[in-house]
C-alpha cells in the first residue's frame, strides 16, 4: 500500500500488467524514451524494452490502427493519444474498426485494447488541450468509455480496461494527474467497468459527477451540509458507457432530486443521458427538474477565462439549492 498520485497509479497499473502479461504493449507519441509528456509511462521502456514500450511516428490513426491489428493478432495494446483533442484523427478507426471487428466477424476476431488519453481542462493549456468529449465515444456502439476520478480508481479501472476483451477508451482527467495522493493497494485491485460508486451518502439530493468534477462536487456537498443542512449523495459514475443508471436511479428514488455535473458542453453531453435514464427509471420519484451543471455550448476558452467555463463548487451548490427550492 503506497500513497500515489494519479500519474504514479496509472504507471503502476501499466507496469504490473506488463509484468504479468507479455502481450501487453504500450505505445504512442513520446511514451517510450521520454515516458510520455505527462510521464505516465515513465520507466516502462527501460524495464520492458523498446519492443513493448515504444514511440511511434506522429499519426493518431496510425497508432490506433496498428493497435487494432495487434489486438486482432492476440496482443493487448494500451496506446496513448497525447491529448484527447487529437484523437479525432483516429475517429474512423475507433468507430468503424475497433468498435466493430468482434461484431463484424461474429466473434471470430476481437479487439482487446485500451486507448488512454488525458482530457479536460484546468491546466492552463493551449487550444485543443482542454476539451471533454466523452459523449462521442459513449454514443459509439462497440466501445466502452471510462473516466477515473483519482489515483485508486485510475489504477483499478485501468487494470479492468486492459483485461477487458473489448476496446475501452480511458480518459484521464489531466488536471488531477498530480493534484493529490491516495492509498493504492499493492496487489492488483480492479474496479469493474460499468459500476458507479457512491462517494458520500445523503438523503436530500443526488449529485452525479465523474473525473475532475468529483472534487468540486464533494466540496459542494460539504457546503450544502454545512450551510444548508442538506445531505447530498455523491455518485462517481466512473464508467460513462456502460452507464450505471441503477446506481443513480436508486439514489434519486431516495432523494427525489438530482444534479448532474460535467465539463463537457451541455448540449448533447453525458448529462443528457443521465437525465433521460432518470426520466425513464425514476420519473415518479422526481420532486424537481434534474439540473445540469456543465460546460457551456462553446469552445472551452483559453486559460485567462477557463475558470469561468469549468463548473466549480459554487455553480453546483447554486444548482442544488435551486433544485431543492422547489
Amino acid at each position: 500500500m503506497a500513497k500515489l498520485n494519479m500519474v504514479q497509479a496509472i504507471n503502476l497499473a501499466l507496469r504490473q500488467e506488463m509484468e504479468s502479461d507479455d502481450s501487453v504493449m504500450v505505445f504512442g507519441q513520446d511514451v517510450g524514451l521520454e515516458g510520455g509528456v505527462f510521464r505516465v509511462t515513465e520507466g516502462l521502456q527501460q524495464q520492458f524494452g523498446v519492443e513493448r514500450a515504444f514511440d511511434t511516428p506522429l499519426a493518431e490513426a496510425g497508432i490506433v490502427g496498428m493497435a487494432i491489428g495487434m489486438a486482432v493478432y492476440g496482443l493487448k495494446p494500451v496506446v496513448e493519444i497525447q491529448f484527447s483533442g487529437f484523437s479525432y484523427m483516429a475517429f474512423q478507426q475507433l468507430e468503424s474498426q475497433a468498435a466493430r471487428i468482434r461484431w463484424r466477424s461474429q466473434g471470430a476476431f476481437t479487439v482487446p485494447m485500451v486507448v488512454r488519453m488525458p482530457y479536460a481542462g484546468g491546466v492552463r493549456a493551449l487550444e485543443h488541450h482542454s476539451e471533454s468529449r466523452e459523449a462521442y465515444w459513449a454514443h459509439t456502439p462497440g466501445l466502452k468509455m471510462v473516466i477515473p476520478s483519482g489515483p485508486r480508481t485510475a489504477r483499478g479501472l485501468l487494470l479492468s480496461a486492459i483485461r477487458d476483451p473489448d476496446p475501452v477508451i480511458f480518459y484521464e482527467p489531466k488536471s488531477i494527474y498530480r493534484a493529490f495522493r491516495e492509498e493504492v493497494p499493492d496487489d492488483p485491485e480492479t474496479i469493474p467497468i460499468g459500476q458507479a460508486q457512491i462517494l458520500r451518502e445523503g438523503k436530500d439530493i443526488t449529485l452525479i459527477a465523474y473525473g475532475a468534477m468529483i472534487r468540486p462536487t464533494i466540496e459542494a456537498a460539504d457546503v450544502l451540509s454545512k450551510e444548508d443542512g442538506v445531505e447530498a449523495e455523491v455518485i462517481d459514475l466512473l464508467s460513462i458507457y456502460p452507464l450505471d443508471h441503477q446506481a443513480f436511479a436508486a439514489s434519486v428514488q431516495k432523494t427525489g432530486r438530482a444534479v448532474v455535473i460535467h465539463e463537457a458542453p451541455r448540449s448533447f453531453g453525458p448529462g443528457a443521458e443521465v437525465v433521460s435514464r432518470l426520466v425513464e427509471k425514476s420519473f415518479w420519484y422526481l420532486e424537481a427538474p434534474i439540473a445540469r451543471v456543465a460546460g457551456y455550448d462553446i469552445i472551452i476558452p483559453l486559460f485567462q477565462l477557463e475558470n469561468y467555463y469549468l463548473p466549480g463548487a459554487d455553480r453546483i451548490v447554486r444548482a442544488a439549492r435551486e433544485t431543492l427550492s422547489v
Binding site: 490506433v64 491489428g69 486482432v72 468503424s96 461484431w103 461474429q106 471470430a108 456502439p141 460499468g194
Partner: protein, 367 residues
C-alpha cells in the same frame, strides 16, 4: 556543397512475365508445381463464375449490393498464392477469389451480400480477416498484425489488399510509414484496377505509378502486370521472402482492370467507354493464363470445359445450401444484439428484452 542531386536508393521496376500475346519470359518464369498452377487456374475460374452468378442473384433480388471482382483474378490470386496458411490476409472488399482460395467458404459471401450477419464470420484459424469497407482503414491492421508476428519471433507475414483509390487516403501513407519505421513483415498489395467508382486512376494522383509512393516511406515498391498471374506471383513471393527474412515491408502495385461494375449499384457507362473495357477484355487474365496452361500441356480444351462445369456445380450447391438455411439464420431477430461486446451491457439487455416482448405480443396478436 552547392546544388546537388541526392542519391536515393530507389528504383521502381515494372514486372511482366507472361505477356498479352501469351509469350513467356522464360528467364523470369517461376518454376511452379503443376498442381499449384492448376489450383490457381481453378480459383480464377471460380472467382469469375461466382461473380457472374452473384450478379444474376443480385439482379433477381436474391442478393444485396456487392462488388464484383471480374478482371482482377490474377492480381489477387497471384498475390496470395505464395502465402502460407499461417500467414495473415487482410482484405479490402474486392478479393473474394483470394479469400476463397485461402479457405473461406463460398457461402460466407452469399450470406454477407445477402444481408445476413453470419456472413461476416471468418474462421479465425484461417487468418483471413473479415472484409473492410471504409477505404484504406485496413492497412494499419496488417501493420499491427505483422508487428505482433515480429514481436513473437515468428516468420509469418501479413498481406493486405486495397485499391488505387485507397492510395489517396492518408491512412495508406501512415501504414506504409509505420511499416517502414518498424520494419514489419507486411506486404501491401494495391490492386490498381484503374477506377475508384467513377474516378480514373490518373485523376487519383499526379504520380505516374502508385508503386513510387513507397519512396515516401523509404520502402521498396514495384509495379507489376496485374493481369499476369506469374508476374504477380513472383513479385509477391519476393516481397514475402523479404518480409520473412526480416527485411521489412514492400508495396506492390498490380496493374489490372475492373471489368464489371463497381458494385451492383453502379452504372459504369456514365464514366467510361466501351472501347476501354474492350481493350482490357482483350487482356483477360484468365484467358491469358489458360493459354499458358494449354501451351504447357497442363490442360486441354476439354478439361477446361469440365473444370468450368465443376466450378459451376460447386457454386450451385453453395447457393442451394444457403437458400435452404438462410431463413433459419435470421429467424430470431434478437441475434442482432449479439457479438457487440463479449458481455452485453445491462441497458442493451433491457432493450433486447423490450424488443423480445414486442415481438411476442405481435406474434400473439397475429396467432
Amino acid at each position: 556543397m552547392p546544388r546537388r542531386k541526392i542519391d536515393l536508393p530507389y528504383t521502381i521496376e515494372y514486372l511482366s512475365i507472361l505477356d498479352e500475346d501469351g509469350n513467356v519470359d522464360t528467364d523470369l518464369e517461376p518454376d511452379l508445381p503443376d498442381d499449384l498452377l492448376l489450383a490457381l487456374y481453378r480459383a480464377m475460374v471460380l472467382g469469375r463464375r461466382l461473380d457472374e452468378r452473384m450478379l444474376r442473384l443480385q439482379r433477381q433480388g436474391r442478393l444485396g449490393t456487392f462488388p464484383p471482382i471480374s478482371g482482377q483474378e490474377a492480381s489477387q490470386l497471384g498475390a496470395v498464392a505464395p502465402l502460407r496458411e499461417s500467414d495473415w490476409l487482410v482484405p479490402a472488399f474486392r478479393e473474394f477469389a483470394a479469400e476463397i482460395y485461402r479457405g473461406r467458404p463460398i457461402e460466407s459471401f452469399l450470406l454477407l451480400y445477402g444481408g445476413y450477419p453470419q456472413g461476416g464470420y471468418a474462421p479465425p484459424e484461417q487468418k483471413n480477416l473479415p472484409l473492410t469497407i471504409p477505404v484504406a482503414t485496413q492497412l494499419l491492421h496488417a501493420v499491427g498484425i505483422s508487428y505482433g508476428i515480429k514481436y513473437r519471433g515468428q516468420d509469418d507475414v501479413a498481406m493486405v489488399f486495397f485499391g488505387d483509390g485507397a492510395t489517396s487516403e492518408g491512412e495508406f501513407y501512415e501504414a506504409l510509414n509505420f511499416a517502414g519505421v518498424f520494419q514489419t513483415p507486411t506486404v501491401f498489395v494495391c490492386q490498381n484496377n484503374q477506377w475508384a467508382i467513377s474516378l480514373p486512376r490518373k485523376k487519383q494522383t499526379r504520380a505516374e505509378t502508385l508503386a513510387q509512393k513507397a519512396i515516401a516511406a523509404g520502402i521498396p515498391g514495384i509495379q507489376v502486370d496485374g493481369n499476369d498471374l506469374l508476374a504477380v506471383y513472383v513479385a509477391s513471393r519476393e516481397a514475402i521472402e523479404r518480409a520473412r527474412a526480416g527485411d521489412g515491408p514492400t508495396l506492390i502495385e498490380a496493374v489490372t482492370y475492373r471489368l464489371s461494375v463497381h458494385t451492383t449499384a453502379d452504372d459504369p457507362t456514365r464514366y467510361r467507354t466501351e472501347e476501354e473495357v474492350a481493350e482490357w477484355e482483350a487482356r483477360d487474365p484468365i484467358v491469358r493464363f489458360q493459354g499458358y496452361l494449354l501451351d504447357k500441356g497442363l490442360v486441354t480444351e476439354e478439361r477446361i470445359q469440365e473444370l468450368g462445369d465443376e466450378v459451376e456445380a460447386e457454386i450451385r450447391e453453395a447457393v442451394e445450401r444457403i437458400e435452404q438455411q438462410a431463413e433459419e439464420l435470421v429467424k430470431d431477430p434478437l441475434i442482432m444484439f449479439d457479438h457487440l461486446y463479449a458481455e452485453m451491457p445491462p441497458y442493451v439487455q433491457e432493450q433486447r428484452e423490450q424488443l423480445a416482448r414486442e415481438l411476442q405480443e405481435k406474434e400473439a396478436s397475429r396467432g
